[in-house]
Each structure stands twice: as structure tokens, then as C-alpha cells.
Symmetry: C2
């Protein structure tokens, strides 16, 4: 592992994207969301995308100067054509519009299609919650890796869902996870370490349980979490993220460009109900009473979002650990762009 | 088991509630939702409530002539005081208002407090989906039975969530489940049969895994489904169902009246996005492609809602099986009200 300060990665990421034609602000935002992914411990949605996105830019899949546009709008909704701009730019617009409309009309729903990979969806719900609205986010992933419950083979992407809820401090309550037992990134981590994986994470290409992470890459598949209950949410994310927005479905055969997201956000202003301040106090009260509860021996009670905040605090202080291979790829790619790593 | 035709239960249920002072239409609706619970296989939310609700009416907890009222309203939202009317009456109003507002303004959010037990939440999302809107429902249950992930003891109710999505036929896509591994009703079923239960359903009062369903009743607790992911949803249901609506929280000490629900629905009209007909076609397409997929040996691929529709078709044809003890209680109670069972 190489340990790199977040500040350095922010500058480097921005310049990598600028060197490929992104406007300053957009390059900065892309770098910020990816560094935030790494800071919060979601390394599968972190700085390794400096290079992956760049390959997609080179392939013409991410259009650096495209601007997402609203194709249909009402006071409470917006329907966005992402125009294959960087996915983060589309998701930012979606979130800003959803929050603004919810603040004006109490509730809103915004969806987007032609949208590239947006990074970690919790970034957007977290931002919305900090603005004082409740945000629900459903994304489909146009890159099938997960079987359906009772089925075999790769049918859907990891179809994440996220809910951000305002609290009394700057750290929202935040759920943010794949509807598979684990995200594919965790399999990659196990492969890198040559570690075994739990039997309920994947099946091999013959449908057999396996503790070998390489069996997933070799034609295996991930399983939905929580049996039929997680499977139901996997499908909800597909229906809202892909079908409602007119985005590519997980099982569609034409997987170009790679790994698109169909994205859908609902935002609710608590002012329509108990009011924002009472809501914040109530959320804090529930959180503190949950945390005061009796723990199982050897366990901790964590609130959704808390593991991310803890990791972020630690990595802001100590730097972000990056696998040597990932770091070398970033450095090599920066060099090809004419950026000298010693300047960062 | 006694097998009783749905028609007979509908008439009997209506008269049981009418005999206690409910207006004809309200009595009919209560009976309908409970018989529908039994028809769809959700026996834990079925006709056994003919008697349970009646006890709550007798205790003054369910107010037969109360009318839920909207205390705060905007074009897209409504905030309802249920006035401790029968919970079904409050949930019906919430659903009707949410659907009407979504149809007029594309998206809506409606919440209610002072709400008694509403029965199976899928009843309402199913109804909304049939009207052509997408409905998301979050309910807290003011009757703690479930531990938090990593914790011990009863902290929250079974806090169900449901999503109803329109399809091309009269059978919506419908998720509808407790955020615990199983609903408490399944433990009761195992107790009635003196059957063992899987180890991941509950803990006994000492926090130990157990296959004995009676250990749950004797101070044990249910576990959230899907480890930290289901736990996160359990909390989301609490934050939206209870905190946002100002309802009693699961862990509140004052558990009077018994088993309230804090309820919250979001409704979205697909017209704001791809349009209702395209959406229906897309949902049907995903469903049929999922069902055509390869199955695990000995398994079936089911779509959320399908088990309920299959059970309903069978029970409409063959009658509803009711445990003898439950049936005897209903008959005895009807008799006390002056209703002769042979008239039904």
C-alpha cells in the first residue's frame, strides 16, 4: 500500500481530467467525488477511477464537453438526458434539481438516462441530506454481475440504493449499498490478497458455492443480499433506475458504453410533516437511543453512515492507502498526459 | 384447519365490525383488507384480527367513529392525524390522497400519526399501483420485537416496507415485507405446529441462537434481515414512518394503545418520465426476461407479488384455511355480539 494525502489526490485527479478536456469545475468535481469514495472507505468507487474513466474518455464513451439537459420538467419533477457527460456531472445536476424542487414544493422526483457511471451514490444523498431534505436514490447498473434469487447467471448489475436523512450535525444518517451481498469491488480486494470469501457471496460458473474469489471472475456471479428480500430491492432499483428513466437494463445485450447508470432520486422536505428541526431532533434521539442499547458480545452498534465517517476522519488524518498497482497505474497515466507526479 | 370461503368471511367480518359501531362502509373495508391478508397468504395480517381489533375497540384504543383529518396540506403533500380511527381507514385516506396528488402533480408524499394497526401494508401499495402510480410505503410498528444489528433486546417493531409498481395486467409488481428476517406471525405459526425455526430468525433472552420458537415469546427477539443492510432499512422505516410523521417510536416506553403504525407513502406518476404505457411495457419486459432465466436446481424464480397472487387464486377457489383455535375465537366472539354463525 502507498499512503497518499487526500489533498494531493484531489489536485492530481483534477489535472488528470483537465488534461483530457474537462472544464476546471467539472474536473474538480469528478476528482472530489472519487477522492471522497476513497476517503469514506469505498475504495471500489475511489481514485482507481482516475484511470478507468480516462479509458472511457479515450474510447469516446464519456463525452468530456457534453452537458446534461432536462428534456421534460414539471414543478416537482425533471427528466434528464445525461448526453453521456461524465456521470458525476449528470448526478450532480439531478441532485441539485431534486433538492431545489423539494425545497420549493415539499417533494420531488428526478430521473436521468444516457448517464455514465456516477461513482458512489451515497455522495449525492449525503449532500442532499446536508441541505435538509430526505433523499432516496435508486440506481441500476448496466453491467450484469448478480443473479436473481432462485436463478443462475448474471442478470442485473449491483443496483445500489441509498437513503440520506438529515441529522442535527453535519454527518447525515446514510444508507448506501449494493443490493448484492457485496459489491464486486470486495471480490477484487479478496483476489488482490489471495484471500478466501464467504460462501454466501457468490456462485461459480457451475452454480456451486465457492470461497474462491477468482471463480467469480471466471464466469461466476454475485448473489442478492438477504435472499428474496434483497432480490426484491434489486428489482425495485432496476424498475426505478432503468425502466422508469428509459436507461439501459442490466440484462440488455448491448453493453456499450461500459457500466452506465440509470439514476432516480426522490427528495422530501420534512417541513411538510413534523418540521425540519423536530425531525432532526427526533432522528438524533433515535440514533442516540440505539447506540446506548446493549451490544452483542464482541460487537458494536453502528449507525448507517458511521463506518464511513470514521474511515474518513482517519484517512483525512493519516492519508488514503492505495494498492501499489493502482497507484502505479495512476502515476503512469499522469505521465502519459504530461503531468509530473513530483509536482503533486 | 377449518376452510372457509372468502365471501363468508367478508360478510361475517363486516357484521362483526358493524355490531361494534362502525359505519357500513368502514366495516366493509376493514373486513376486505383482513380477508385480503388471508387470501394472499399473509395469515399473520388476516382474519384473526376480527377478534384482535375488537378487543382494541372494547379497550377504547380503536375509536370506531373517529375520522382522520388532514392537519397540514400542500399541493403535493398531506399530513394526517389518524385520530385513532381504525388504522385501515387512516391508511386508505393516506393512499387515496397520495395517489390523487401524484396524478395531479406527478409526485406526492403523505404521512399519518395517531394511527392504529393498518393490516398488511401491501394492500395499499397494490391499490396505488393499480391506479397507475409507483408507491413506496414505510411503516414503523410501535411494538418492539426486533433487535438492531450488533445489539441485544427488542428495540424496534418489524418496520415493514412495501413498493408497488404498475404492470401491464391487474397484478402489480409488489414487494411487501418486514425488515426483520421474518414477521412475528411466522414464529406464532411455528409455535402452533411445535416446529423448529432456523437459527438466524431469533435470539433467546440470553442472546443465544435458538431453534425454539417459544424462546422468542419468552423474552427473546427477532433479528433484522440481511445483516447490516436490512438493519439500515429497519432504521429508515423508523425515521420515515415514526420520526417524520411524529408517531410513537418503536422503543418508546408508553406502549398504549397497542401496536400503532406510523405510516408514510411516496407516490410517483411515471408520466413525468418515460410515460405510463412505456413504463408498464418495460416492467413487463424485465419480469418476463427474469422469469425466462435459468433457475437453480430445485428452485423457482418468482417475481415479488407472485407468491401472493398464486395463493390468492388458490384460496379464492378452495377457501381460506384457518386454524381451528382462531376460527373458534371468531365464532365465539360473533356469538357474543348476537351474530349467529349459521347465518353466514
Amino acid at each position: 500500500m502507498i499512503v497518499v494525502p487526500a489533498e494531493r489526490l484531489l489536485k492530481l485527479g483534477k489535472d488528470i481530467f483537465k488534461a483530457q478536456g474537462l472544464a476546471n469545475e467539472k474536473a474538480e468535481f469528478l476528482a472530489e467525488t472519487l477522492v471522497e469514495g476513497s476517503l469514506t472507505g469505498h475504495d471500489s468507487h475511489g481514485v482507481s477511477y482516475f484511470v478507468i474513466y480516462s479509458e472511457r474518455i479515450k474510447g469516446g464513451h464519456i463525452k468530456v464537453d457534453a452537458e446534461p439537459v432536462i428534456v421534460h420538467e414539471t414543478p416537482t419533477t425533471a427528466y434528464i438526458d445525461g448526453k453521456y457527460a461524465p456521470g458525476q456531472i449528470t448526478a450532480k445536476k439531478l441532485t441539485e434539481v431534486a433538492v431545489a424542487k423539494a425545497k420549493e414544493h415539499m417533494v420531488s422526483a428526478v430521473g436521468a438516462f444516457n448517464c455514465n457511471h456516477i461513482g458512489r451514490i451515497g455522495y449525492y444523498t449525503n449532500w442532499a441530506a446536508k441541505q435538509g431534505v430526505i433523499a432516496l436514490f435508486f440506481a441500476n447498473v448496466g453491467n450484469p454481475q448478480v443473479a436473481v434469487h432462485g436463478g443462475e447467471g448474471r442478470t442485473f448489475g449491483t443496483n445500489p440504493i441509498s437513503v440520506g436523512i438529515p441529522t442535527g450535525d453535519a454527518k447525515p444518517f446514510l444508507t448506501d449499498y449494493a443490493t448484492s451481498v457485496v459489491a464486486a469491488g470486495k471480490i477484487s480486494v479478496a483476489m488482490a490478497k489471495h484471500a478466501k470469501i464467504p460462501l454466501h457471496w457468490t456462485r461459480d460458473k457451475h452454480g456451486k458455492p465457492t470461497d474462491d474469489p477468482f471463480a467469480f471472475k471466471d464466469g461466476g456471479w454475485l448473489l442478492p443480499f438477504g435472499e428474496y428480500k434483497g432480490y426484491a430491492l434489486q428489482l425495485v432499483s432496476e424498475m426505478l433506475g432503468a425502466v422508469l428513466t428509459g436507461s439501459r437494463r442490466g440484462m440488455d445485450p448491448d453493453q456499450i458504453p461500459p457500466s452506465t447508470n440509470g439514476i432516480f432520486m426522490i427528495a422530501v422536505d420534512p417541513s411538510a410533516f413534523v418540521g425540519l428541526e423536530t425531525f432532526r431532533e427526533g432522528v438524533d434521539d433515535v440514533i442516540s437511543r440505539v447506540k446506548e442499547g446493549k451490544t452483542e458480545p464482541g460487537k458494536r452498534i453502528m449507525i448507517p453512515g458511521e463506518p464511513e465517517w470514521e474511515t474518513k476522519d482517519a484517512r483525512l488524518a493519516e492519508g488514503i492507502p492505495i494498492p501499489e498497482e493502482t497507484w502505479n497505474k495512476i502515476v503512469k497515466f499522469a505521465d502519459e498526459l504530461g503531468l509530473k507526479i513530483e509536482d503533486y
